[in-house]
């Protein structure tokens, strides 16, 4: 690992990656106060929804309040974007933590205000967070309608609280506030996963998400602490301007082993710790197991939190502190490798699942792996671009799956549904689903294609990352296959459907719900969940769901032109390269993207020029060709092959929902499909590794406690007999047990102290 890392770094250094002065954030300027409205409006929605809950409002009022507040927040975000200048803006809402200590000579202080650091990266994230949140809240207003008057207000309060926390996370001007937001989104996710708390599986999933995230959060907390200890501040603006920090960055950029030696080991540890935090939140190997289970939550939650926004917080963290990640020779390499492993592993599991929502979940894990790999191979632009496009099409896919689930009484098994797209009233869902699938599969010229391509090409260019590139390319093919496996089996082909029931239904509320309350226009019996297939009438989605699906599908087309806007990497590239995440990737000048050979801004020209001055052989190639030039075609072809295989196996000649040609292939593969279906037994492994020992340990301690108390009582029974006949034989009583244990404990403790000290 270390050797590989060193090679990569020598390669990067040779490629003349931005010397320390090549990276620089302009000094921050004060920003307007109204920026605070962006988090404040969702918070207002939380308060209003809570009031609705207290006054037991029995209408859709909480939904409209939420949609209104979030839409207003989106508008403010747009204004913020339009107000952006070149420099990051700082805006402080109120003083939060302000502690100082230390001697007069070296005063130390901890400032962490409730303040916002607004640069283009912040804008990019907030635009899609608030925008998608508004749309998904609108979708949820219909989706959750069976819960009106029961959990409706609670749902929207938690939903708004999530948006507030996410805003804190993204807009924070210091790491403590980021941590607050980080925990906040975790809490909301925990609450919303467990929303259907009647189901044990939902409760277990919530618990799992909680524990897995704790592991990651511990890393993040330690990382923040170390940053504070080493650089004396947790504020981005001060950190990036810190003298010691810049000096170390300079050492890292020099890239020789002597200059690496000048960076203390604990500074090199910081990126590793932050990375652990990012892995937990963004569900990377080995902490990814919580995300697929998190699909127990209502579908809008899966779409917003577990596909589009929260899980990209890890990517955001790394992008925001990208400079810090340069301080370790191995951090980004590890990020790349873990990201790639996650992408491949999750894709293989996704291929073998039958629950369409779960397939989408594994696909999310896999795509997050892509983003991390993108960060790891030094294209923060590509990673952020993929976050951006992925947010749209993955939300779209989840919402479409949710519509199916809503309409078919919780049915999600792709062996029980077929030809849904052709059923009356389902046309819009079918078409929008196709749009989402094409994006995910990387169909040429669509948004998902451009962003995936950018990461792939960079993987082949960055020295030492060729293997990563090949694995990612393979994963792209697998992705196309499993995506269209879902589409071909569920949305096209012969029409057939078996409604779900309580036992398998994910949102079991739905199963009862839509029959009775809320959907008078269908008016079928409440006993729907027991029905035979022919009794059941799937009810197609209403206007809100359709509207949101159409808007999202349109948006995923609308963002395609953004790719060609601006300079390198399109509009998103512009946004990223003017932020703290800016870091020129090797060989960027090769990019003939939309006809701009010059990188954006001064920062990039620096890198570009210095790159040219070095020899270019160090940069990787794709089979001897320039990756940027050929990757479009290669990845396009790989995607089409994946789709083709899926067509051959899952659509061509299929006569029923349950069977397909793929079944014939299964025996040839031996036990592998079964293992993949069982998620490679990772859960079982974790259970064996962690849960069991702790339980055993606590029982051992309990046993020792018993033995200590009872044992000492018995011991005390001997002493009195030895002392004299007048003392009664000891009988074990609780009060005495305690007294003897206390006295004995004092003795033992003193003995230990004396023995150790002397």
């Amino acid at each position: 690992m270390t050797e590989l890392a060193t090679t990569v770094w020598q390669g990067l250094a040779a490629a003349g990656l931005g010397a320390a002065e090549g990276w620089g954030v302009p000094p921050a300027v004060p920003g307007p106060m109204w920026i605070g409205l962006i988090p404040a409006l969702p918070l207002l929605a939380v308060v209003l929804c809570t009031l609705c809950a207290i006054f037991k409002v029995k209408s859709k009022l909480p939904a409209w309040l939420t949609v209104g507040c979030l839409a207003a927040s989106f508008v403010v975000t747009l204004l913020m974007y339009l107000n952006m200048s070149g420099s990051p803006m700082l805006s402080t809402a109120f003083t939060w933590i302000d502690v100082s200590w230390g001697s007069e000579r070296s005063p130390r202080n901890l400032h962490a205000n409730f303040g916002f650091y607004i640069d283009s990266l912040t804008c990019l994230w907030m635009l899609f967070v608030t925008g998608l949140a508004t749309l998904i809240a609108l979708y949820a207003s219909e989706y959750m309608s069976h819960d009106v008057g029961k959990g409706y207000s609670r749902f929207f309060a938690a939903f708004s609280l999530f948006v507030f926390s996410m805003a804190c996370l993204v807009m924070a001007d210091n790491l403590i506030l980021l941590y607050l937001g980080w925990e906040g989104v975790g809490l909301c996710s925990y609450l919303l996963i467990g929303y259907f708390y009647k189901k044990p599986s939902a409760v277990a999933a919530a618990k799992k998400a909680f524990i897995m995230n704790r592991i990651g959060d511990l890393g993040l907390a330690l990382g923040i602490f170390l940053i504070f200890v080493k650089f004396g501040t947790v504020e981005y603006a001060k950190l990036f301007a810190d003298g010691a920090f810049k000096e170390m960055l300079g050492h890292a950029m020099t890239g020789t082993s002597e200059s690496w030696a000048k960076i203390p080991w604990d500074v090199k540890l910081i990126p590793i710790l932050l990375m652990v935090g990012a892995f937990g939140k963004s569900a990377q190997f080995p902490l990814y197991v919580w995300l697929p289970d998190a699909m127990e939550g209502p579908t809008p939650v899966s779409a917003l939190i577990h596909a589009a926004t929260m899980v990209t917080a890890g990517v955001f963290l790394i992008a925001r502190t990208y400079a810090v990640f340069q301080l370790s020779p191995s951090a980004l390499t590890i990020v790349a490798i873990i990201g790639t492993v996650t992408a491949l592993l999750a894709a293989t599991i996704g291929m073998a699942q039958f629950d369409i929502k779960r397939i989408m979940a594994y696909s999310t894990v896999s795509q997050l792996g892509y983003m991390f790999a993108g960060l790891g191979v030094m294209t923060s632009v590509g990673a952020c671009f993929h976050v951006f496009t992925h947010a749209f099409f993955k939300a779209l896919l989840f919402l479409a799956c949710g519509a199916v689930m809503h309409g078919f009484a919780g049915q999600l098994d792709l062996r029980k549904l077929s030809g849904v797209g052709k059923m009356p009233g389902w046309r819009i869902v079918g078409i929008t689903m196709l749009v989402g699938c094409l994006n995910l599969a990387g169909f040429p010229l669509l948004a998902g294609f451009w962003s995936k391509d950018m990461i792939l090409a960079q993987a082949f260019i960055t020295p030492g990352m060729g293997l990563v590139g090949w694995v990612l390319l393979l994963t792209a093919g697998l992705t196309a296959y499993y995506t269209f496996r879902v589409y071909f089996r569920v949305f096209v082909g012969p029409q057939e459907h078996h409604p779900g029931d309580e036992a398998h239904g994910h949102d079991d509320h739905d199963a009862h719900g839509h029959g009775g309350h809320g959907h008078d226009d269908h008016g079928h019996a409440k006993a729907d969940h027991k029905h035979e297939a022919h009794d059941f009438h799937p009810h197609p989605p209403g206007w809100a769901i359709n509207l949101v699906l159409v808007v999202l599908a349109a948006a995923s087309f609308a963002i395609i032109p953004l790719t060609f806007m601006g300079k390198h990497g399109g509009w998103v590239g512009d946004m990223v390269s003017h932020s703290s995440a800016a870091w020129s990737a090797p060989g960027e000048h090769h990019d003939d993207h939309a006809g701009h050979s010059h990188a954006a801004g001064d920062t990039h020209s620096h890198a570009g020029e210095s790159s040219r001055s070095h020899d270019e052989e160090k940069l990787g190639t794709f089979l001897g060709m320039d990756p940027h030039a050929v990757m479009y075609y290669v990845s396009g072809v790989v995607g089409l092959i994946g789709i083709g295989v899926a067509y051959r196996l899952h659509l061509q000649g299929r006569t029923s929902a349950a069977t397909s040609r793929a079944d014939a292939l299964l025996p040839m593969l031996g036990p592998i499909p079964k293992w993949a279906q069982n998620k490679w037994y990772v859960d079982e492994f974790y259970h064996f590794l962690f849960v069991r020992p702790l339980w055993v340990l606590s029982h051992i301690f309990h046993l020792i406690d018993r033995m200590l108390v009872d044992g000492l009582v018995n011991l005390a029974g001997i002493l009195p007999r030895a002392l004299g006949a007048t003392i009664r034989p000891s009988q074990s009583g609780q009060l005495h047990g305690y007294a003897v244990a206390m006295a004995g404990g004092i003795g033992v403790l003193l003995l230990i102290v004396l023995l150790v000290a002397r």
């Binding site: 002493l719 009664r728 009583g733």
Partner: protein
């Protein structure tokens, strides 16, 4: 080291003859030990309480001895307060014992072992 330091005190107006601080401390320690052992072994609540009194008064003896040794009255003052607190505890203990006897008709500490774990 401890013993020699303690025994060095001899210039008090009225000499302590053969009795030194060490003797008093030995008595105090022995009393404390006897009290503790009694507390740990006896089952009768009243006897157990008397044993704690023994431990309190052992500390009292040590205080008085030290007071004499240091030639100030602080220790003796302390003892007065210890006696007061001991009296308060005695009142409480007796009230408690009466209350407990009413419920269980027994003075054995073993009657009271319902809660455990």
């Amino acid at each position: 080291m401890l013993a020699s330091w303690m025994l060095a005190q001899s210039d008090y107006p009225i000499p302590m003859t053969n009795l030194t601080l060490g003797h008093y401390l030995f008595v105090a320690a022995a009393m404390f030990a006897i009290g503790l052992i009694g507390f740990l072994t006896r089952r009768n609540l009243i006897i157990m309480f008397l044993c704690t009194e023994l431990m309190f008064q052992a500390a009292g003896i040590a205080l008085v001895a030290f007071s004499r040794y240091h030639l100030n009255h602080t220790g003796e003052t302390f003892v007065i307060f210890v006696l007061t607190v001991a009296a308060a505890e005695a009142a409480m203990a007796l009230a408690l014992v009466v209350l407990l006897f009413r419920r269980r008709e027994s003075l054995s500490a073993e009657e009271w072992g319902q809660m455990k774990g």
